[in-house]
C-alpha cells in the first residue's frame, strides 16, 4: 500500500508543474493532504501494532493500545516466533509461518499451472465446446469457496485429506480468474508466432514450454502476487480443514493464541499476538515489492 501511494504522489507532483502558477500550488497541497491522510490511515494501525507489541500483556490489558515503545519488543517477537503454544504446545510461530508459506506458494503456483493449462487448451486447440467450456469455467467466479464450502468439506473429508497440505491447497486451486487472465493474454499473442513455431518443428508441448510460458512471465508474476496474498490470507478453509495444530497457518494461529489463553483464564498474550500479526504482514509485502520490480522490467522491455 505504502509503495503504491508513493508512486501516485510522485506522478501527481510532476504533472501540473507549470500550468497555473498559484492555483497549482494550492491544489498540490490539497492533493498531498489527501495522500498523506490516506497513507496515515493505512500506516498508523501498523505502527500501533508495532508499538503495542513492545508492551507486556498486563500493560496492554490495562491501558489498551499504546503509541509509545516499551522494552518488551524483542521478548514478544521472540515469543511469537519460537515459544511453543496451542493446547498441545506443539506449534511455534515459525512452523505457522512455514505452513502459511506452503499454503501461499502452493496455492499461487497451483493456480497458475492449472489456469495456464486450461487457457492453453481453450485458446489454441480446436475443441468442440471450447467457448462453452470457457464460459462454464468463467461462471464459477459466481461460486466462491464460501458458497460451496460444505460440499467441499464433505468431499475432502470423505477422501481423508483433512489435516494434509493437499487437502489445504488442492480444493482452492481451480481458478476462473486465472484462466480468464491467461486466456485474454494468449489471445493477444500473434498467430504468426504459433505458425512460425510449427514450421520450426515445435509441437504443442514445446510451443507451450519454450514460447508461451516465457512470454507470459509478467502475467505469471502478476497473478502470483495476487494469488499468494490471497492464499496467505485464507482463513475459513484452513480453519475447517486443519484441526491438527502442526498444520496451522499464521492467520488462524493469531486467533488461536488469544482463544487458547482466554479459555485458560489467563490474560491473553496481546503483545505476542501483535508481534505475530506484524510477522504475518511482512511476507505479502515482501512478495509485492519483489515482484513489482519484475513487473516494471517486463513492461519496459518492449517485447511484442
Amino acid at each position: 500500500m505504502a509503495v503504491a501511494d508513493s508512486i501516485i504522489s510522485v506522478s501527481q507532483t510532476h504533472e501540473p508543474a507549470r500550468a497555473k502558477r498559484r492555483g497549482v500550488k494550492l491544489s498540490t497541497i490539497a492533493d498531498h493532504a489527501i495522500l498523506i491522510a490516506g497513507a496515515l490511515f493505512m500506516l498508523v494501525p501498523v505502527y500501533l501494532a508495532l508499538t503495542t507489541a513492545s508492551h507486556d500483556a498486563v500493560h496492554i490489558q490495562r491501558e489498551g493500545l499504546s503509541f509509545g515503545f516499551s522494552d518488551d519488543l524483542v521478548k514478544n517477537f521472540d515469543a511469537a516466533l519460537f515459544a511453543k503454544g496451542g493446547f498441545t504446545g506443539a506449534i511455534t510461530g515459525t512452523t505457522m509461518l512455514l505452513n502459511s508459506f506452503i499454503l501461499g506458494v502452493g496455492f499461487a503456483v497451483g493456480k497458475i499451472v492449472l489456469s495456464m493449462i486450461a487457457a492453453y487448451a481453450i485458446v489454441y486447440f480446436r475443441l468442440r465446446f471450447a467457448t462453452f467450456a470457457f464460459w462454464a469455467i468463467f461462471t464459477t467466479i459466481l461460486l466462491p469457496l464460501e458458497v460451496r464450502i460444505v460440499p467441499s468439506y464433505e468431499v475432502i473429508q470423505g477422501i481423508g485429506l483433512t489435516n494434509t497440505y493437499t487437502g489445504l491447497i488442492v480444493p482452492l486451486l481451480a481458478s476462473a480468474t486465472g484462466t480468464f487472465f491467461f486466456r485474454q493474454f494468449f489471445l493477444s499473442v500473434p498467430d504468426e508466432l504459433v505458425e512460425a513455431a510449427r514450421i520450426d518443428g515445435a509441437g504443442p508441448v514445446k510451443f507451450f514450454i519454450d514460447i508461451l510460458v516465457p512470454l507470459s512471465r509478467t502475467m505469471i508474476a502478476a497473478i502470483f502476487i495476487i494469488m499468494f496474498v490471497y492464499g496467505w490470507n485464507q482463513y475459513l478453509w484452513p480453519t475447517l480443514i486443519t484441526t491438527e495444530e502442526g498444520l496451522f497457518t499464521l492467520v488462524r494461529g493469531i486467533r488461536q493464541i488469544i482463544q487458547a489463553m482466554a479459555e485458560g483464564s489467563q490474560i491473553p498474550e496481546y503483545g505476542r499476538m501483535m508481534a505475530l500479526a506484524i510477522i504475518a504482514m511482512l511476507p505479502p509485502v515482501a512478495i509485492v515489492i519483489l515482484f513489482q520490480s519484475w513487473f516494471v522490467k517486463g513492461l519496459v522491455e518492449s517485447e511484442k
Partner: protein, 351 residues
Amino acid sequence: MAKVSVSNLSKTYGKGTQAVKPCSFHIADGEFVVLVGPSGCGKSTLLRMIAGLEDITSGELRIGDRVVNDLDPAERDIAMVFQNYALYPHMTVAKNIAYGLKNRGTPAPVIEQKVREAADILNLTEYLDRKPGQLSGGQRQRVAMGRAIVRDPALFLFDEPLSNLDAKLRNQMRIEIRKLQRRLGVTSIYVTHDQVEAMTMADRIFVLNDGRIEQVGTPAEIYHKPASTFVASFMGAPPMNLLPGNYNGNGSVLLDDQTAIKIGQAANHKGAVQVGVRPEDVVLASPRDGVPFQIDVVEELGANRLLHGNLAGHPFTVSVGKEADAAPGISGLRFDPCAIHLFHPEEGHRL
C-alpha cells in the same frame, strides 16, 4: 531445392466461400515466383496451403517428389518469413535462428556453426546476443530471413515480408532478398500486394484475382501483354488507361467521340471493345497534330511528369519525361499502334 507442382488445388472455407479456386501450376527448381493481387484475392491462402498452415480442400501439392498434402509444416522442408517477422520476443537473435534446428535435434556445435554462417551472410553477427525488441525493423526482417536460411530448406515462402518497412528500407531489402535467393538458389514463393515488388523481384509473376490465377508470366510479359483488364490495371503505376471503343475489323478503333486510333494487330472480335493504353506509350504533340487531350492536372515526379486529363470524354493519364513541356490546357496525343491493347468489353480478357 526442389520444384513445386500444384494440381487442382483449392480451398473452401466452412461456409462455402471459395478462397482459392482450383488451380494448377509448376514452379521450377530455383525459381523465384511472386504471387501478386489485391487483398482478399487468395494469394496468402494459397501460400499458407503450401506451407501447411491451412488445410487443403482438394487437389494435390508436391514439393520435390513428395506429395505433402497431409504433412505437418515442419515435415515439408520449407521455411517461411512472415509479415510481422514472428520472432520469438524472449529469445536472443542467435536462439531465434537456432530454434528450428534445435527442435530437429541438430547437434549443438553444428547449430552454432550454421547460425554463425547465417548471421555472417545477413550481417547480423554483432546482434546475435540481442533480443528482437532491441533491433530495428530491417534488422528484425534479417533475423526472420536468418531463421529461414539456416535450415537449408527446399522451399522459401515469403508472406508480404517487406510491408512493415519504410519505403527506403523496402527497396534495399528487396534487392537483398533477391540477391540472397540467387546465391542460395532455393525455390521461392513470395506473396505481395505491391506490384513494384512483383515486377522487380520475380522470375515469374502469378497475378491472382478473386481466388483465381489471372495470368502467369515473366514481369515483361505481364506488363506488355496483360491477359485481362484486371492485370492491365493492377500492374503498372499509374495503371493502364482503359477507354470504351469500337472495333470494326479495319485496322483502327473508334473512341466515343469517333476519333480513330490505328492498331498494330488485327483482333478477331468486332464491335464494342475496351482500349488499353499505357500512360508512357503515348507521345505529346500539338493539338492539331494528334488526338485532342485536355490536361487538367500536372503531377511533377522529378524524373517524369504525370498529366491527368480527359480524352474522348474519359479520364486519361499520360506519363511524359521531365524534358517535355506540359501545362494544363488542350494538347494533342499521338499513339503507337503497337502499344494499343484491346480487351473484351464485358469479360475483360485480351483480344
